[in-house]
């Protein structure tokens, strides 16, 4: 049974790397054309009716937006966990700092209310989250290993507690409403019901989905640029063997701090988008459980691989919505799969970590040599 599953898994990986090879073999103009077509497809996705794929119970556009925002989170967390190998269990803290920055500076209800529009609040939110990342990283990144996981876990909880108990500032669980959003009205001709209404208002998630998609694409592009540079190599080397990396000239602390700051900035950006879309922010939005799901999507998908973590984000955030469509009624009682979401994730995590600890879509290396069959004995 186990060996059969393993064989199946290897066949799947072989198939995937076959696709990868074929993709890389395509001439560049073709790759660009396919890439563009795919992007257009993503933008059009809310209006395309793919049977079964579309969610019924929840508005499909909102589901797509939700997935997109968490893909953005995954891109950021991938820099921290996947590339630099820093186990950050409190990433939700950065998400919250970003969200609250926009809420506090933007909402007229807040004590810090400014007249700044959303577009000004977002850069402020990113700057503040980056700062919080550096402040958290400065003392902690000098220490190695498990310690960091504990400290970041504490950071996430700390931010949540401040949000919950800091009534004067955050209004606790009652939250802050009237969070601003980007300007713009729907022009005539898109949808007669929307014409003249706010593009980012409550009437539809389409504007938000498109905006988030643009940001995801830009951030992925930026993350790739950094990954395929001296900085990305330094991160990998630190992840593999920090002492050896330092002796080879890698400024480990500096690049770890960069990873933290970049991750924080992306987390903050996601939070800022989230706050604008929800229009309302309260301490209940930043549960520890969400932080764990953040890590789960990176680890399940394939830490260190952008395609992998994207898949992870899709699985973790799309599936629960899809599962809502399959309500079974037993003895007149509706059983909702969503309630078993965490149970299912727990199981999936155990299975995946057993069979493929590198995640579903691991980072792949083309190897010119088959693995050495039997490694020679290493003398001590």
């Amino acid at each position: 049974m186990m060996s059969k599953l393993r064989a199946l898994d290897n066949r799947r990986l072989g198939f995937l790397s076959g696709i990868g090879d074929r993709w890389h073999a395509l001439p560049k103009p073709w790759r660009i054309a396919f890439g563009l077509a795919f992007v257009v497809f993503l933008f059009a996705l809310p209006r395309i009716n793919i049977p079964f794929f579309r969610t019924v119970e929840t508005d499909f556009t909102t589901v797509l937006w939700t997935v997109a925002i968490y893909v953005l989170v995954a891109v950021g967390l991938n820099v921290v966990i996947g590339l630099a190998g820093l186990l950050d269990l409190g990433y939700i803290g950065f998400f919250a700092v970003g969200a609250y920055s926009v809420a506090l500076f933007g909402s007229p209800q807040s004590v810090l209310a400014t007249k700044y529009p959303w577009l000004v609040c977002v850069p402020i939110a990113i700057a503040l989250t980056m700062l919080s990342g550096v402040l958290l990283g400065w003392p902690t990144l000098r220490v190695r290993g498990d310690y960091l996981a504990i400290v970041t876990l504490g950071f996430g909880e700390l931010i949540r507690l401040i949000a919950e108990k800091g009534d004067a500032l955050t209004n606790g669980p009652r939250g802050i409403a009237e969070i601003p959003y980007p300007p713009g009205k729907w022009p005539a001709g898109v949808n007669s019901e929307w014409t003249g209404l706010d593009m980012f208002g409550p009437v539809t998630s389409l504007g938000w989905y498109w905006l988030t998609l643009v940001l995801v694409i830009v951030c992925m592009w930026a993350a790739r640029r950094i990954e395929h540079s001296r900085v990305g190599r330094a991160w990998l080397a630190i992840r593999e063997d920090e002492d050896a990396a330092e002796i080879m000239g890698v400024q480990a602390f500096r690049f770890k701090l960069w990873a933290f700051a970049i991750g924080a900035a992306l987390g903050g950006l996601s939070g800022a988008i989230f706050a604008g879309k929800q229009n309302f922010m309260s301490s209940g939005s930043f549960e520890l459980m969400t932080s764990i799901l953040f890590v789960a999507m990176v680890v399940i998908g394939g830490s260190g691989n952008l395609a992998g973590v994207t898949l992870g984000a899709i699985l973790v955030w799309y599936l629960p919505f899809k599962l809502q469509d399959f309500n079974i009624t037993i003895d007149g009682e509706r059983i909702n799969f969503t309630e078993y979401r965490l149970l299912l994730f727990g199981l999936a995590l155990i299975v995946i970590m057993t069979f493929r600890p590198q995640g579903l879509l691991p980072k792949r290396y083309r190897s010119s040599q088959p693995p050495a069959a039997a490694k020679e004995e290493v003398p001590v």
Partner: protein, 285 residues
């Protein structure tokens, strides 16, 4: 002796781990352009000596100077940039990275590109005409606006890394993950990675451990080639034949103390060294 003859000076270095004195007032120097052997029985403190030189441990007393600069107290990466590179007794490559990437990390020690430079492809530097395509708009563009420092560094680094891989004889495995290389190739890759940092002094910690005689002969050849490049080599090695054949001078450690120093011939005749290696108590020797 003038300053310039001495490349590295280990000056009365003592290092204690709790109760253990791993190095006890060790004093020696490495001269420019020589191959110096550091030998001694197991646990003598040879690797610890490398660790002090490369900033892994700070000496309890004494200091190390390199090329006129104080080493002790500097960060590890800063010492690498001064020009000391090393390999490890128990191989420490970046196992998941390819052989080429391992060497690229070494070349990065001399690079400047950071996050902003990689992201925005700034600053621009003058393009070197021979690295550009023969014709076409890319060439025109690069000649007019220059290339980003990131691209210039990457191109040069790749070329250099491939050169180094063939220098140590594993060019065929550039894209193989380090963990999939054979044991001997991993040792060679470590040397290539160390050379990529552009050192003045290369420290090799038992590079021939586990090698058969043919591999040892190749390694000997490689060490000589490295010296011919103008580098200074400090070599820890247990194989006496190899050590005697390749080194100009030897320093012998035992129980953290230097017990002898001199040419291979002198050291071979030294009664303390014979005693240390044969395990005869010193007063009996």
């Amino acid at each position: 002796m003038t300053m310039s003859d001495t490349l590295l000076k280990v000056d009365n270095v003592t290092l204690r781990f709790g109760g253990v004195t791993a190095l006890d007032g060790v004093d020696f120097e490495v001269r420019r352009g020589e191959i110096l052997g550091l030998i001694g029985p197991n646990g003598a403190g040879k690797t610890t000596c490398f660790n002090v030189m490369t900033g892994v441990f700070k000496p309890t007393a004494g200091e190390v100077t390199f090329d006129g600069e104080r080493v002790s107290g500097r960060a590890k990466y800063a010492i690498t940039r001064l020009g000391i590179a090393r390999t490890f007794q128990n191989i420490r490559l970046f196992p998941e990275m390819t052989a080429l990437e391992n060497v690229l990390v070494g070349t990065d020690a001399r690079h400047k590109t950071s996050v902003v430079g990689a992201l925005f492809r700034l600053p621009r530097v003058k393009a070197e005409a021979h690295t550009l395509p023969e014709s076409g708009w890319r060439r025109t563009f690069a000649l007019t606006f220059g290339v980003s420092r990131h691209i210039a560094e990457e191109r040069a680094a790749r070329a250099k890394a491939l050169d180094l891989l063939s220098f140590v004889g594993i060019e065929g495995h550039a894209d193989a993950q380090a963990k999939n290389l054979s044991y001997g190739d991993q040792r060679r890759l470590e040397i290539a990675r160390a050379l990529a940092t552009e050192p003045k002094l290369l420290c090799l910690d038992e590079p021939a451990a586990g090698f058969n005689p043919a591999e040892k002969a190749r390694l000997l050849e490689l060490i000589r080639k490295i010296r011919d490049l103008g580098l200074t080599v400090l070599l820890i090695e247990h194989d006496m034949r190899l050590v005697m054949g390749v080194t100009d001078r030897l320093v012998v450690l035992e129980f953290g103390k230097k017990i002898a120093e001199g040419s291979p011939a002198e050291v071979r005749e030294n009664p303390k060294v014979i005693a240390a290696y044969l395990g005869v108590p010193q007063d009996a020797a």
